[in-house]
């Protein structure tokens, strides 16, 4: 049986319950994709019933259809370019007037619209009555009452979609709003000229183009300039229009357009659509906020919530992280046992399993962190955090919403920049978001914490707590100051307006939280997994090849043989296991020395020595050079590479006391050198997982900027610290 295909788009303002309805309609069929070139997710799903096959694309949530944000441009382009048969517009019925502002803009483009009035349960509770039939008549659009949280209205909504697709058959009829005595004649004139010249009419409705010119829409005007000379004429008319409106009412055409649109909606609602209720009465959420955003209690509660989130993520996450690490250790064991000794074994065990294992080990942390973050976000709490912290963050060119990513990244030591960078997507302001993403990796993540613990134990045994505290404070100072610096140089620009809805508290659905969380985690595993695999292999090769020349290896083998002979002669009565233990004890220093020599001989070691003249400016011991290079893969590697370089063999990064003793005994670690390495460690290039996350959340250009920029900045700071402290020591 042939099926009728319908293409529909799901639209709505943020917090209107659009995603909940989308999930309810498409079930588990939704697939995440990307719009080319930008980081807005594209969600698609299907709905099949009664021989209809409806492909549904979820548009980003936007309040309007201007061209000021990525989300708005995407929503608009999907409508204009993909020309869906029907646009479903979910509407928060508790804020009907504001929600219809978006709906009206879809109707001006001409898209056949079905309105889904969501949150009808809340509307009833607040004592408001909405006459749905009347609204539908006045707008000439099908309207369906929904409560997406309970899945109510889903079938009715889709039935209207099918009916509307049948009725319109792909024919679009834009509505014509009046924009007042000043603008209407001008619009008329512009529309006529656009029709005459067939100016961009292949893509847009003529009157819509005229409105966008009057609104000063940069994208449309830019496209218009490329399309033909009429653009200059239209722009001249707009300038004339602005003179008129300024003279008559002291405003601009775009302000008048917004006022009249709202006027149209307001007039419509007053024709008996909405009755009862008091729009200005505080609702329950406003009353809860008297405590939750209270002058003193607010920050206290926030600190408590953040701390709890952190605690849960890293305490609870430690168990599955441990299991996964154990699993990889077991796999490595299998690899060592069953793959013959040689390059293949070394590549698989040290390179691939080691590298990929480190990444997969983060997955539980990301899963837990995202689940809580999605919960708090859907609950509406994150908007309150932004509201409370905005004043402070703004001073440094950031946004209230920057607090969360910074804390997650290690604003309290032990975090991780990967989930931190990823949760920066809650920021709707592109410049502030970029500054947050670029500086968050300075924070003291869990991996850096292990390295600092080792270094602090070695060099500041008297006051480890104070030293760690100083490191964390330094991290915050650097993050805030560098943000300020970035926002006045490379990410320059006015701070994005804060104007933000504080949504009412709504208990999220388990399904919604689960769907969003799993989506994110899967993307992390997929994306990071592939890149990490490649880089792990490269890092392995760099630290393995070239191998020691045969005669050098032979001389180590000879020394081990002599050591074994010496043990045998010294302990003639020892046999079996006892003898083996004694022998391996005697051979260990020789093997450690061989590992050290091999590391120095490898490309990594040579690069380390090659960089020595440069890093001497910052006073780094050569072992730190190699360790810092290795730590690009994952910062934990710093400890294990230092151990190899100090001939320690295998060292557990969690318990590195003996390594600390060795370090403390090495005269190369003077106080200036120590402080210099401390600063460099804090600021230099984020680990590769974070770099991938940065690329994913912005683009590769910014990821590379982060790599190069942090490296240069860290080096300059380390050199400064080294030479300044040398003056005093």
């Amino acid at each position: 049986m042939s099926q009728a295909h319908i293409r529909a788009a799901m639209s709505g303002q943020p917090n209107c319950g659009k995603s909940t309805m989308f999930n309810a309609i498409t079930g588990g069929s939704a697939r995440v994709g990307n719009y080319p070139g930008i980081t807005v997710d594209r969600l698609e799903g299907t709905y099949r019933k009664n021989g209809y096959d409806i492909k549904l694309v979820d548009l980003p949530g936007t309040y309007s259809l201007t061209s000021y944000s990525m989300e708005e441009v995407v929503a608009r382009n999907v409508i204009v370019d993909e020309h869906p048969d029907v646009v479903i517009n979910m509407v928060d019925a508790t804020a009907l007037e504001r929600s219809l502002y978006l709906a009206v803009q879809f109707m001006e483009i001409g898209a056949p619209l079905v309105l889904g009035l969501n949150m009808m349960d809340e509307v009833k509770r607040s004592g408001v009555t909405i006459d749905i039939k009347r609204l539908s008549q006045l707008l000439n659009v099908p309207v369906v009452a929904c409560t997406a949280r309970l899945g109510q209205g889903r079938e009715e909504l889709m039935a209207e979609v099918v009916q509307l697709a049948k009725d319109t058959k792909g024919l679009w009829t834009p509505i014509r709003l009046s924009y007042g005595p000043d603008l209407d004649p001008i619009l008329e004139r512009m529309t006529k000229r656009i029709e005459e010249e067939q100016f961009m009419t292949g893509r847009h409705d003529p009157r819509w183009v005229a409105i966008k010119y009057l609104e000063g829409d940069e994208l449309v005007i830019e496209a218009g300039r490329a399309a033909g000379p009429l653009s200059a004429e239209l722009e001249a008319v707009c300038a004339e229009a602005e003179q008129t409106t300024r003279a008559n009412s002291n405003t601009t055409p775009d302000a008048i357009i917004a006022d009249w649109r709202y006027g149209f909606i307001n007039g419509l609602l007053k024709q008996g659509v909405v009755t009862g209720g008091d729009e200005l009465r505080r609702n329950i959420s406003d009353n809860i906020d008297r405590v939750v955003t209270h002058k003193l209690l607010g920050p206290l509660i926030m600190a408590g919530v953040l701390w709890a989130m952190f605690y849960v993520t890293f305490t609870l996450g430690a168990y599955p992280q441990g299991w996964i690490e154990d699993g990889f250790t077991w796999l490595s064991g299998l690899g060592t046992a069953y793959i013959p000794e040689g390059y293949v074994q070394s590549l698989i065990v040290s390179g691939i399993l080691g590298g990929v294992g480190a990444v997969i080990g983060f997955t539980p942390l990301i899963l837990i962190m995202f689940a809580m973050l999605v919960f708090l976000e859907d609950l509406g709490y994150m908007a309150r955090v932004a509201y409370m912290m905005d004043k402070v963050m703004r001073i440094f060119g950031l946004h209230g919403m920057s607090v969360m990513p910074l804390i997650m990244s290690g604003g309290i030591p032990g975090g991780c920049a990967v989930p931190g960078v990823m949760c920066a997507r809650t920021l709707r302001s592109p410049r502030e978001r970029l500054a947050t993403i670029l500086t968050a990796p300075f924070m003291v993540c869990g991996a850096k914490t292990t390295a600092y613990l080792m270094l602090v134990a070695a060099f500041f045994p008297a006051s480890p707590t104070g030293a760690m505290f100083a490191v964390v404070i330094a991290a915050w100072v650097f993050v805030l100051l560098v943000s300020r610096l970035l926002r006045s140089t490379v990410v320059k620009g006015e701070s994005t307006p804060f104007v933000m809805e504080i949504p009412p508290y709504r208990l999220p659905t388990l399904r919604g939280v689960a769907v969003h969380t799993l989506e994110r985690v899967w993307q992390y595993v997929k994306k990071a997994g592939t890149v990490i695999l490649a880089v792990s292999i490269v890092m392995w090769a760099v630290m393995t090849f070239p191998e020691l020349p045969e005669d050098t290896v032979a001389s180590f083998d000879a020394r081990r043989f002599i050591a074994e002979e010496q043990v045998r002669t010294a302990n003639p009565q020892a046999t079996g296991e006892d003898l083996d233990t004694l022998v391996s004890e005697a051979q260990k220093p020789i093997t450690d020395e061989q590992n050290e020599a091999a590391l120095q001989y490898s490309v990594g070691g040579r690069v380390g020595s090659f960089l020595k003249p440069v890093t001497d400016l910052a006073g780094f011991p050569w072992q730190a050079n190699i360790a810092l290079i290795g730590a690009f893969a994952a910062k934990e590697v710093f400890v294990s590479t230092m151990a190899t370089a100090y001939s320690m063999g295998e060292v557990d990064p969690e318990d590195a006391t003996s390594l600390s003793d060795r370090l403390a005994a090495d005269p190369a670690w003077s106080l200036p050198a120590i402080l210099s390495v401390f600063v460099f460690m804090l600021l230099y290039t984020p680990c590769m997982v974070t770099v991938v996350a940065i690329a994913k959340e912005s683009n590769w250009k910014w990821a590379l900027f982060s790599v190069g920029g942090s490296m240069a900045f860290a080096f300059v700071m380390a050199v400064t610290v080294y030479h300044t402290t040398r003056l005093f020591v």
Binding site: T293, G298, M500
Partner: protein
């Protein structure tokens, strides 16, 4: 009494007279429904007195004082 929105105190009601912001800020302010004739009430201020929270058109909105400067209200 006609005043800048910044000067309104918590629990005070008013009606918007004029919005003088232009460009992106003007657009975002208007998109959220802050247009002349809109009734509103200040429901709170953040711990550091900025931003401010408003109740209007059935929802709660927050904006910075620097943005409220562009909005003139007839306070009641």
């Amino acid at each position: 009494m006609v005043m800048s929105m910044r000067k309104m105190s918590v629990n005070q009601r008013g009606q918007i007279r004029q919005v003088t912001a232009s460009g992106e800020m003007g657009r975002r302010i208007r998109d959220m429904g802050l247009v002349p004739g809109t009734d509103l009430m200040v429901v709170g201020r953040a711990p550091l007195q900025d931003p401010v929270a408003l109740r209007m058109k059935g929802f709660t909105l927050s904006l910075r004082n620097s943005e409220a400067d562009f909005i003139t209200v007839e306070a009641k």
